[in-house]
């Protein structure tokens, strides 16, 4: 097998080492792809919102369709109260989507295949949603852990389970995205390695697998971004409309 499939996830410094106190905040390939994704998003949506023609051109249509897609997703899952958080969920969805998609380019680095990145996003969402919940409902937000219509005997058990499931949200959210991206990219790398090692005679089968996997991975890249955004909406819905 040619090469270690995990080397594609290596982070390496680009340029000099930057240190702030004891922390190393050097510019790396991960930072590069974060910036590329953000710039691509800003470029596309800036172009798509510049002109306001009655009959939109392609890039305007793209921007407006994305806008209505995300706004519909939010209103469907979290209702009209979630409108102030539209910009955050929109940027979250676009950021994850673009990072995933840029990762599909050969030799590119996949930002979202790193647990620390997805975990920071998920932890931010978790803390934010919890803070919103407590601001909106005060200590009544704790009613989230006490589902209605449960027999009193089962209640202690249910409350424990609810608390555990609530606390595991950031972990499940971050690990889902990270594991999906890492597994897909690793698998593609492995099949690519098979193509090389099996040569011109036996390499066609893994090659065809690789082609199919590329399609699947593009689907997954979109799907995981969508799942990440929609789960954020669902958590937000719990915080905004407390009816468990």
């Amino acid at each position: 097998m040619a090469g270690n499939p995990m080397t594609q996830f290596n982070v390496h410094r680009i340029g000099p080492e930057i240190k702030v106190g004891a922390f190393d905040i050097s510019f790396t390939n991960a930072s590069l792809f974060m910036i590329i994704s953000s710039v691509a998003i800003l470029l596309i949506f800036n172009l798509g919102s510049k002109k306001n023609s009655l009959l939109p051109n392609k890039i305007q249509l793209l921007a407006e369709l994305s806008y209505t897609f995300v706004s519909k997703m939010i209103s469907d899952t979290a209702g009209s109260k979630a409108k102030p958080y539209f910009a955050f969920i929109f940027s979250l969805f676009m950021f994850v989507l673009f990072c995933n998609m840029f990762g599909m380019i050969p030799y590119a680095f996949t930002v979202t295949s790193h647990i620390i990145v997805t975990f920071v996003l998920a932890a931010f969402i978790f803390i934010g949603v919890t803070v919103i919940g407590f601001i909106k409902h005060g200590f009544g937000y704790l009613k989230l852990f006490v589902p209605s219509g449960v027999p009193a005997v089962l209640l202690p058990l249910i409350v424990v389970i609810e608390i555990i499931s609530y606390l595991s949200r950031p972990i499940s959210l971050s690990v889902r995205l990270f594991a999906n991206m890492m597994a897909g990219h690793t698998m593609m790398k492995v099949f690519g390695g098979f193509v090389i090692s099996l040569g011109i005679i036996g390499g066609w089968l893994p090659l065809s697998f690789s082609v199919a996997l590329t399609g699947l991975e593009i689907l997954v890249a979109f799907l995981q971004a969508y799942v990440f955004a929609i789960l954020t909406c669902i958590y937000l819905n719990d915080a905004l409309n407390l009816h468990h």
Partner: protein, 196 residues
């Protein structure tokens, strides 16, 4: 289906990781904390800038565009509706005018027809009267002539027979005797001669 494939793929890829870990040192680069702080810093920076730029600059513009398009389309629809109503009222007016003028034309036509019919009838009556008068006159003449015809024929018969006798015999015959014979004949055979 996709989910199933996916779980399988994750499972198999973990098998590969095991192999990779045992073969090489380092393992998953994701778990190497060397660049964690850097990643957190750059993620916060880029995502923060992205969020601020999108929420303050770009998304309001897009929502504005969508709103203005919606209102423009609504306005256009309203204007179209108004124009449609206008055209409908105009069409109604036009139809009213048409029906009115049709009615007028009909009454005019009927009046003219009645007038001409009256004229025709009056003239016809006059003509009929004239014709009747002439017919009665002619009938009277015919009657007069017919009534006079047997006397004249008798006279002619008497004269011609007297002359014929004179020429044949050479003597003058008394007209009264001849007339008596003719009268007798005509009385007997009058029906045969005159068809009465």
């Amino acid at each position: 289906m996709i989910k199933k494939i996916y779980f399988q793929s994750i499972f198999f890829s973990f098998l590969f990781f095991m192999e990779a870990f045992s073969a090489e040192s380092g393992g998953m680069p994701q778990l190497n904390p060397e660049f964690w702080v850097s990643q957190i810093f750059w993620l916060t920076l880029t995502f923060g800038i992205l969020y601020i730029a999108l929420s303050k600059l770009i998304l309001p513009k897009i929502s504005n565009n969508l709103e203005s398009r919606k209102s423009k389309i609504l306005e256009n629809i309203e204007a179209a509706e108004k124009q449609r109503e206008d055209s409908e009222t105009k069409l109604k007016e036009y139809e009213e005018i048409i029906s009115k003028s049709k009615l007028e034309a009909k009454t005019i036509f009927n009046q003219a027809r009645e007038k001409t019919l009256k004229d025709i009838n009056a003239k016809k009556e006059v003509l009929d009267k004239q014709i009747d008068e002439e017919i009665s006159k002619a009938e009277q003449e015919i009657k007069y002539l017919r009534d006079g015809a047997p006397d004249k024929i008798n006279k002619i018969a008497i004269e011609t027979s007297s002359e014929l006798i004179q020429k044949l015999i050479g003597t003058e015959v008394n007209n009264s005797s001849i007339s008596a014979i003719v009268d007798d004949l005509s009385r007997r055979n009058g029906d045969k001669y005159y068809g009465n």
